[in-house]
């Protein structure tokens, strides 16, 4: 009994922090209808700004908070003005990608300035601790709770009573109508980003003070947890975000109490999926809201795909096939093999996200299933590669479709967040299901790919194998897109209601797309597993999912050739940038931003 009280106190303490993370995200989502992936980076910038102020200027806490709020607020305004505004009215998905690019640039800049080593955050608060039950709370816990409540109250007052606040709410309800009523939307957006970023930055400072240390890897986790908390409270609902943070904190704490620490995140993501299925508008939407605006149609920028004449395509394939005979350079071939593997992965995703319009942020989970399926079949049952890889494709198609079933009825951002959650659940199940997957040890000693008795262990053989699969899956997908199936998929994307009116059952077709995409991803995962010989639950992680969606968006949604081009750029570019050493990921981020800026509809356009 006593312990349950302790778990509750701990849950509230950590929930306060999640609340802080999600307020900013919710505010931006409410107004700009955007999941801001850069929010976590702004949070980390805030932490480092605070550290700098305390370390060099020895500022007292209120002054530090002020410096951090102003600094991060200015950063937020700059992000809106220079990275996101130029993309307005062009493509909503490009804006999402731009926030990923901004996040990359911010994280890398911080790392170059401050190095990756964690830093001790000097304590600025009295050192007393108040025993409550069997645990204690300290001054910082109270400050964080006080800050959260104060920030929410100020925000509430601002939205309710100030003129700019009215403009913000009007824009959130209907940007076009607000513009017609004379609201300066640009000003509203800048204000919203500045406020959300100031809150995020101060949140970073508080969390740094709470843990007594800060490091640059805080960003991603902060975005992830903030997103889950926001979703529990209802997308874009600011007071809901605070409650969502507390609920997430409590459920994690109880999850640890019941199942142990390794189940903590699993518990959080399962809760998120349950809420998505049962109450997609969050737990705190009393009014029945309009169904979320589909990302399809409006989500895609109008553009004509750039095609390639058939002859040129054949010539290109022939050149790619013959090229290693002329230039057998293993490093280059390995890089190209990685590019082709990424293209194979992106085919399925460009079908799901581009052609059918279901933005998936959990695609790497399909590779993980395929990799583990083929690896385990080979290791435990001695299956040859030619049998285990296709079997992995089938298993992934079945399992992947089954897993994604709860997300099929959702639309827009909900699909994105649900697939992200499902992806994390798959990784955590792999980690915790030691009996099947060997848990954290991963699979080692997976044999190299082979056909019959021929081992495909040279870079050239692996290159040809992946090239053959890319050509096979690419042409298959191309044919599918031209068939009635392709037309039906595009019809669902462009207008689900109209498609339904024509007698199309969207769920079945969506499931079909996931099955086809899952098969390709499963085979790609299998090849990767046999290529690396060692995989674990982190080999196919969420960063890979985000890279894959970046490839798809950059190449042009739904565009098969675009997926290959996107893979070539995004996998090849970091290799080309090798001489830049520590600077390469920064340059990569900037290049990504520039590409989105000038080709928001993707390099080869939407197919």
């Amino acid at each position: 009994m006593g312990s349950w009280f302790d778990y509750t106190v701990n849950g509230i303490v950590i929930g306060n922090i999640y609340a802080l993370l999600s307020i900013g995200l919710a505010l931006i989502f409410g107004v700009a209808n955007l999941i801001n992936f850069a929010q976590g980076s702004v949070f980390t910038v805030g932490a480092y700004l605070g550290w700098t102020a305390i370390h060099y200027l020895h500022t007292p806490l209120p002054v530090t908070v002020l410096i951090v709020a102003v600094g991060s607020g200015a950063l937020g305004a700059a992000i809106e003005r220079f990275a996101l505004r130029p993309l307005h009215q062009r493509s909503r998905i490009a804006v999402l990608l731009a926030t990923i690019g901004v996040s990359l640039v911010l994280d890398q800049t911080l790392q170059l300035i401050f190095s990756a080593e964690p830093r001790a955050m000097p304590s600025q608060l009295p050192d007393w601790r108040l025993p409550i039950g069997g645990v204690t709370i300290g001054a910082i816990d109270l400050v964080i709770a006080g800050f959260g409540v104060t920030a929410a109250a100020l925000l509430f007052g601002f939205l309710r009573f100030s003129k700019l606040g009215w403009a913000v709410r009007a824009t959130a309800q209907d940007p076009d109508a607000a513009r017609q009523m004379g609201v300066d939307i640009d000003r509203v957006n800048v204000a919203v980003f500045a406020i959300a970023s100031a809150l995020g930055g101060v949140g970073g400072l508080m969390v740094g003070l709470f843990y007594h240390s800060i490091d640059i890897t805080m960003s991603f986790d902060a975005t992830l947890k903030g997103m889950v908390a926001m979703l529990i409270g209802g997308l874009g609902n600011v007071p809901g975000a605070i409650a969502g943070g507390l609920i997430l904190g409590l459920s994690e704490s109880y999850g640890v109490a019941l199942f142990g620490t390794s189940y903590r995140n699993l518990f959080a993501f399962v809760l998120m999926i349950l809420i998505l299925v049962a109450a997609p508008n969050g737990l705190f939407s009393w009014r029945r809201e309009l169904p979320p605006e589909p990302m399809t149609g409006t989500f895609l920028a109008p553009s004509r795909p750039l095609g390639l004449p058939r002859g040129a395509l054949y010539a290109l394939i022939a050149a790619a096939a013959l090229f290693p005979l002329v230039w057998n350079q293993p490093y280059l071939l390995q890089t190209l093999t990685n590019v082709l593997l990424m293209a194979l992965m992106a085919f399925g995703l460009t079908l799901i996200s581009g052609t059918v319009g279901q933005i998936s942020l959990g695609h790497a989970a399909l590779l993980a299933i395929g990799g583990y399926a083929s690896g385990l079949l080979a290791l435990d049952f001695g299956w040859p590669f030619v049998a285990s890889a296709p079997a992995a494709g089938v298993i992934t198609a079945l399992l992947g479709t089954l897993l994604v079933l709860p997300a099929l009825r959702m639309t827009g951002h909900y699909v994105a967040i649900a697939t992200l959650g499902i992806g994390e659940i798959v990784a955590l199940v792999i980690l915790n299901w030691s009996g099947l997957t060997r848990g954290p040890y991963g699979l080692s000693g997976i044999p190299a790919p082979s056909i019959g008795s021929i081992e495909l262990d040279t870079p050239r053989a692996l290159y040809w194998l992946t090239l053959a699969l890319v050509v096979l899956f690419g042409s298959l997908q191309g044919r599918l897109l031209e068939s009635h199936l392709g037309r039906t998929w595009r019809a669902i994307r462009d207008d689900e209601v109209a498609a339904r009116a024509y007698g199309v059952e969207p769920l079945r077709y969506k499931a079909l797309a996931f099955a086809f995409g899952g098969f390709g991803a499963g085979v790609a995962g299998a090849i990767a597993a046999h290529l690396y010989s060692y995989i674990n639950h982190e080999t196919f992680n969420i960063q890979l999912s985000i890279l894959a969606i970046t490839v798809v968006i950059l190449g042009g949604l739904g565009n098969v050739l675009g997926a290959v081009l996107g893979a070539l750029l995004l996998v090849g570019l970091p290799e080309l940038l090798r001489p830049a050493a520590e600077y390469r990921m920064l340059i990569y981020g900037v290049a990504l931003l520039v590409l989105i800026r000038y080709r928001p509809q993707g390099l080869l356009g939407t197919a």
Partner: protein
Amino acid sequence: MSLNRRSFLISSVAVGAAGLTAGRSLADEPIVVGVSGPLTGPNAQYGAQWKDGFDLAIDQINAAGGPPIQYVFEDSQSDPRQAVTIAQKFVNDPRIVAELGDFSSTASMAASPIYNRGKLLQLGITNSHPDYTKGGDYTWSNCVSQEDEQPSLAKYVIEGLGRKNLAVLHLNTDWGAASKDRFVKSAEAAGAKIVATEAFQPGEHDFRSTLVRVRDANPDAIVLEAYYADSAVILRQIRELGLKQVVAGVGSIYSPKLIELAGADANGVYTQSYFFSEEPRPEVKAFVTAFHAKYGKDPDWFNATAYDGLIFISRIARQYGSSREAIHEGIGKIKDLPSVVFGDTAFDPVTRRISGPHFVRLIVKDGRFVIWDGVKPETN
């Protein structure tokens, strides 16, 4: 930081230039070592620490005369995809005679088949995963396997500190799980009881609820199988929660950073290390002095093991020749390798690791690591 980044760029430019000059004279042709490790991404701090160690080794080798040595550091982000690409690059770059790294076992073990097929020595400088050197005849490590370290830690906690009911907190990675499993085995064999094991994810920062679970299991010692950054956060929260148990940790928590991050809450923590910067061995003293002169801070084990790795390659090359095959032949044969971490040492050609490592038992007292005085802590 900025200083050694510049020196790195200079050395990599120098390597590039050396590759271009057509007529290479044999006498002062530099030995080039490839390094695959994280310079960006979540593990970038360890890559930076390696570089501090490498640069110091290079200064000393090149100042001492003999064949100069250089390294090419390729950023893998500890990502297996990039590590295999780098492996292909190194294997097919004739200048490179040996490879050091990668950092994570995922990345290192993914690259091992390529190094083994390409017959290029892969020397893991931080790979304590017990399966790492099983990757092949060309995969070696100067890092002690958890197979050796954990029994020693168990002995320290049970016999040295007199604890019997242990709670283990471990990182939920292959490294952490391997460490935990070996610790539990040794501890149970020695008659201790494991009352709780809790696995946490890398990047986890909140341990309060975990520690309530640990508290309810009533241990008389808490054992940490984690790196120093996570351990510092755990130590803070152990004390904030008011837990009074003895805390002991695996050697990877030994770093000046632990004390910097955990502050006074690090006091009283027990650990063991085969490298301790205040150990009175002359080679340690010389290394610490030189490191301090170059960087103005104390080295930790990551610096020392990287330094050792490069010195080893240089020694082997001097004795057995600087071709790939000569270095691979030499690593199993060479005796009396000068090592900061191990003293004079040698590789065991069967396990392909350092044979017979010794550990120094440490405790944190008044914000410093000192050698443990052998006094058992009072029972709590």
